[in-house]
Structure formats: C-alpha cells, structure tokens
Symmetry: C2
Subunit: 353 residues, 2 copies
DNA sequence: GGTGTCCGTGCAACCGTTTGCCTTCGGGCC
DNA sequence: GGCCCGAAGGCAAACGGTTGCACGGACACC
C-alpha cells in the first residue's frame, strides 16, 4: 500500500451504521448486533423491530469492522504460483477458478486473487500481502516441480491447500486431477473395443501429469494381461512415426497431451491410416483441440471445476468452519470422464489379431 | 457471512501491533503511524528508530484496521459477469486476469474475484458482497449483450469499468480488444501479399466481436479499392463451401473465429486446395487452435494481458489515485498483433489476376 | 524578558462491530 | 419481605490504525 496519497473514497457517501439502526429500533448497538447475529437472548419482538429498521435503512454490516473485531476476515487467497508463459494456454484455469470462487462464495468467503510472480521479491511481496490482508487461508495453484512459495507459506502457519501435484512431496494438503485414472480409463476403453497393441505417446517426462497418465496406461494394460507397447516421449509427430513403423504396428494410440495429438494425427494421415477406421486415437487431456480436430478426439476430461470447489472445501476444513478434511495428501476427486467422440473404433484386423 | 459459527482464526498467533512498535521505539503510536507513512513532520532520527523497531518486530500493518480508519479498502473487484458455459473455452481469461491483478498489485491494490452467477438472487448477493466488503471499485467482464449487473452497479455510485463491448451502449467506461483493427490488419496483410478476391467468413452476427471484426475487413478492402467478397455467417465448413464455389473463387479467406477456421481448412482440403499454396487463410482470433492446426494459422492476436492491465489503470483513474482517465468510452489499447505462421502466401494466379 | 512561531510529538477521539460483564426487572421460593 | 434467578438488554472496552488538535520547547524578534 503506497502511502501519502489522498484518500477520497469513490462511491457511497451516506451509509447506515449499526448505530443508526439501533437508534431507529430504539435499542442499543449491541442489541442490534446480537439480534442480527441470531443471539437467543434477544426477544422475538425486538428481533423483528431490529430487522425492520435494518431493512428500512438498507443496512449492510461493514465487513472491515467486523473483521477487525472478530479477528477473522472470511477471505481466502487463490494464489497462482506461476503464470502460464505465453503460448502455453491455461485453458483449464477458468474452470478451476470458477469452481473455487463459487464454493467460497457459497460458504460466505470471498476470494482474493494473487499472482506470485516468480522471483524472490515477488514472493516476498506476496507473503506480505497475505499477512497484511489477514487472509484466513490460501490455495496455491502450483507450477510444476516443487514450489518454494508453498514452503514459505506453510512456515507462516497459514492454513493451506495446494492444487496440483507436489514434487517432491511436501507435508501439505493437496488436490490434483486424477491422471492415473485418466490413463486407465482411456486404455480400458481401447481394450474394450478389441485393441491389443496399444501404444503410449507420452509427453516430456518431467511433467507430473505425464508421469501419472503413463502410470494409468500401464496399470490398465497389465490388468488386461497385455504387453505394453512401445513408449515414446518425443513430441507428437516423430513419436507417432517411430511407433507406426514398429514390426506389427499398434492399432491404437494413447496420447498424453492434446497438442501432441495433432502430430500423431498428421503422421497417421501421411501414412494413409484413416482414423478411426485403421487406427484409434484417444487423448488424455480434453483441451480445446480435442473437439476441434478431424476427427474429433475421444478424450478424457478432468473435472476442473469440481477440483476448484473441492480445493476450497478442503481449505475450509482447516479453517474450522466444517469443510471436508482428509489427511495430508490427495483427496478423493470424482474420476475423470471419458468423452467419446469420433477417433476410436475397433481395430481393423478384428477377426485375425 | 453465515453467523453463529465459532471464530477460530487458523494461523498467526502473536502479531506485532503498532503499539508494540511504538513501545520499542520509545514513541507514541501516532508517531509510528506518521513515521511509517512518510509524514514530513517527523524528524529523521525518529523515523530511523521507528523503522528499526518495525523491522525488528516484523511489523506488518493490518490492512483491516487501516481500511476501517481510512474508509478505503485498497481492494477492487474483478467481476466475471457470466461464466463461460461448458464447451465454450475462455482461453483468453487467464491472460486478462493476469494483466489485471498484476497492475492492481503494482498499484497497491488487491483483486477480489467475484462471479455474478446470472439470476436475480445471484446479482443481489454480488451487490451485497461488494458493499459489505467496501470495495473501492469494480471491473466487470461483460458477457455479450447488455449487462444488467452493470446498470445496478453504476446505480450504486461505485467506480466502474467494463471489459468488453456494451450493447446497447451504456454510460460506463469500457475497454475491449480492438477487433476492428484486427480485421483490418488481417485483410491488409492479404492485400499486401497480392490477393484481390478476399472472402470473409464471419461468425454469428449477434457476437459483438464478429461485428467489429467484419467492420475492420470492410474498411481495409474499401481503402484498397477492392470489392468486398461474399460474406457468410454460417459455421465454418458450410460457409467455406459456399464461398469456394463462387464464380471466380476467392483466393483468400478471413475467418473471424478460430473454431470456424477448422471447418474452412477441412473444406479447402476436400476441394483439393492446398493451404497456403492455393488459398490463404487468416484467422482473426489467435486461440489455442491457431498454432495447432495444419498448417499453423496466421492469426491476429489481441493483447489480453495488456487489456487487463489497462482496465485496472482506467479504474484506478476513477479512484483518484492517478491511473489513466479518458472519457466514458473505449480507451486506446495497443493494436492487436499479426502473428505470421504458415497459412498465407501470395495468390496462385499471381501474374494473371 | 515577553511574545510569536515554528518544529516535533503526544493525547485522545474517531472508524463500525463484537462481546464480557453488569444492570434492571419480574417472578418464584423460602 | 428478602433472596435468588433467569431473561433481556445496555455499557464500555476491545480490535489496530489514523488524524485533528493541543502541547512543550527552542529560537528569534522586538
């Protein structure tokens, strides 16, 4: 807060205070506070009178004063620890934010948005801001990799929840989309269609999501008693190329990220393999590309909005105001949903394989 | 704020107050306040002593108390008037939010996020919330069409800025991406490459963005002394089909929305028209699809982040704290940027046309 | 040596709510 | 009739800063 600037509040000049209401109802301010707060000591008739007076005056209690008196702000911070760089679309963020704020609003909390712009001073400013504003808790959308910010916040004793996987694991409650199940669902779908040679086109290994999604893929194959196909970590096109040229080529491809699916599709098209007739493709991320590509991609959709909502409620749990609790690590999130579009069919050599 | 719940703040137990600092520095609380606030009346030595004491105690002033005393909260609301429905990706929102909060943070303000979930009661809750929390101002990301919420907020005398076009126009300051220039830039690019028959594939006419983008297209053609090609408002594929089958087919397509470009590309591919060799395509919206399609689309990118930043500063203007001002309507935004990728080349019949 | 004028600080009254404790009053009980 | 008790509500002190004004001292000027 820069100092030295003249203060001239913009709006609302005449605003009714609790004392105005008291006067009008012929009681004391204390009584108004209690009547409106539902204190059982205040008699019914009085409560009515106070309510009327408050309504007549359009009285809205001042949260600032309330916070000061009660030592609690009913405010939580949603911290975007790392902003997506240019070119890297955070298409999932709006859903997450929406879910979070909606849940907060429903519980009477207000969401403060804060960006932790990387560097040391940025982090320091952020910490200062959270202390200054006395937020009751914070949810941190972690970048990939371990989050320094998280550590410092935890050190402050601030109720905390992380959104996103933590590497290395930290003693902090966290929630994240269930990427393992995503991988499993997709793979099982393909198995169910009759595919036996299913390849995984994974993303860069340092992405937490990639790791988990791959894990789901392996699990599903194992349970189906199938051998895992070749894995490729390179970007879409080359990856697919290498996989297609395998001895018996795979009949299906599980692609970890939607951008990579573009490359895969292109490669298959060049090889003259029609999707879904001669090759099936399923994407583990239902980004904006999935429905737009030709053919529209069958994909697994993570419940971002729900994730936001549950993150808040988990946080509310540590705030004492009865949200949900649940140990230190990953909470149960409803499983991702398989959105069937047009990119998967049965394998071409059905009778034979 | 639901009442009746026990208040038990989660974190921070022992927190230094201004009086603690005063005691340690051997002065009064008033002096601490003034010293830290840069009041020239306090002598230099005293200021130093106070600063030291404050640092030693890790004193962070309490914004709640400050707000109460000064009648100003240093908080602005960012109101998402209408959340994007499912399937409708708001890929531009993160950029906008980022720009806004960053600017706010830099000016010492904090951003409160609020969702105005449609209905009457939702609006009412929102208004209540803004009054209760005493926000100093609000920026409303408008949905399409006229925004009821905006009207009610303006009625409250709250400093306001709208982000997005207003139809019908309202007496409210607003900022929006410069879609007219976007249309013009794209069209001029094509003209510059030698195209003469340029078609517009516009979106649904009720979208404000569509209207403006089309306007830019017409302007550019007029200035180049060219005739405007046929216009189609239908969705991508059919639109392109109709356009391609015109007498002399267009050599270039200006597509208003990136999702529609998918249809256009597919249509061209089916007609055997290679892009960019035999037809040029330029997109007026640089969404996630643009770089991912084959070929990657040349597109016009709106400066969403800057838009967010300027929106805040415009708001700050009405807050008295020297942001930028500028009448009631549209502020100057730096123009959108043409991102040249692989979908435009010179027209095929260069010598002849 | 008064008196006026700065300069640097302290006093205390705010800002609008909440809440511990006291008061008042009416009634029941010994 | 005195006492205790519960019910209903008021008093005033918080919460942690800000700020108008008074105050004391040093200094200059007449």
């Amino acid at each position: 807060m820069p100092a030295g600037q003249p203060d001239a509040p913009g709006g609302a000049e005449g605003r009714a205070t609790i004392r105005d209401v008291a006067r009008r109802a012929g009681v004391s301010a204390a009584t108004v506070s209690r009547a409106l707060g539902g204190d059982p000591r205040i008699s019914q008739p009085t409560v009515e009178r106070v309510r009327r007076a408050a309504r007549d005056l359009r009285y809205v209690p001042d949260a600032t004063a309330r916070s000061l008196a009660r030592g609690r702000t009913w405010t939580v911070a949603l911290v975007l620890s790392r902003w997506p760089g240019p070119g890297e679309e955070a298409w999932w963020l709006p859903g997450l934010i929406q879910g979070f704020t909606a849940a907060a609003q429903a519980a009477g909390y207000v969401t403060l948005l804060a960006a932790g712009s990387g560097g040391l001073t940025g982090r320091h400013q952020l910490l200062q801001l959270l202390r200054e504003r006395r937020v009751d808790g914070a949810a941190v959308v972690t970048g990939q990799g371990y989050d320094r910010l998280l550590e410092e916040l935890a050190g402050r004793g601030l109720p905390l929840v992380a959104i996103g996987r933590l590497y290395p694991a930290a003693p902090v409650a966290w929630l994240a989309p269930d990427d393992v199940t995503a991988g499993r669902l997709a793979t099982e779908h393909l198995v169910g269609l009759g595919h036996r040679r299913i390849a995984l086109v994974a993303g860069p290994g340092e992405l937490a999501a990639t790791v988990d999604r791959s894990l789901g893929y392996w699990t599903a194959l194992e349970q189906a008693g199938l051998e895992t196909g070749p894995v490729s970590a390179a970007e879409g096109y080359q990856a697919a190329a290498r996989l297609v040229d395998a001895h018996p080529p795979p009949t299906a491809f599980v692609v970890a990220h939607d951008l990579m699916a573009v490359g895969v599709l292109q490669c298959l098209a060049e090889r003259g393999l029609a999707v879904p007739r001669q090759a099936a493709v399923v994407c583990l991320e239902d980004g904006p590309l999935a429905p737009a590509l030709r053919p529209p991609l069958t994909a697994v959709r993570a419940p971002w909005e729900e994730l936001g909502g549950r993150s808040f409620r988990r946080l509310a749990g540590s705030l004492g105001a009865g949200g949900e609790d649940g140990g230190v690590t990953g909470g149960a999130l409803s499983p991702p949903e398989l959105v069937v579009r047009g990119s998967c069919g049965p394998p071409p050599d059905r009778g034979r394989a």
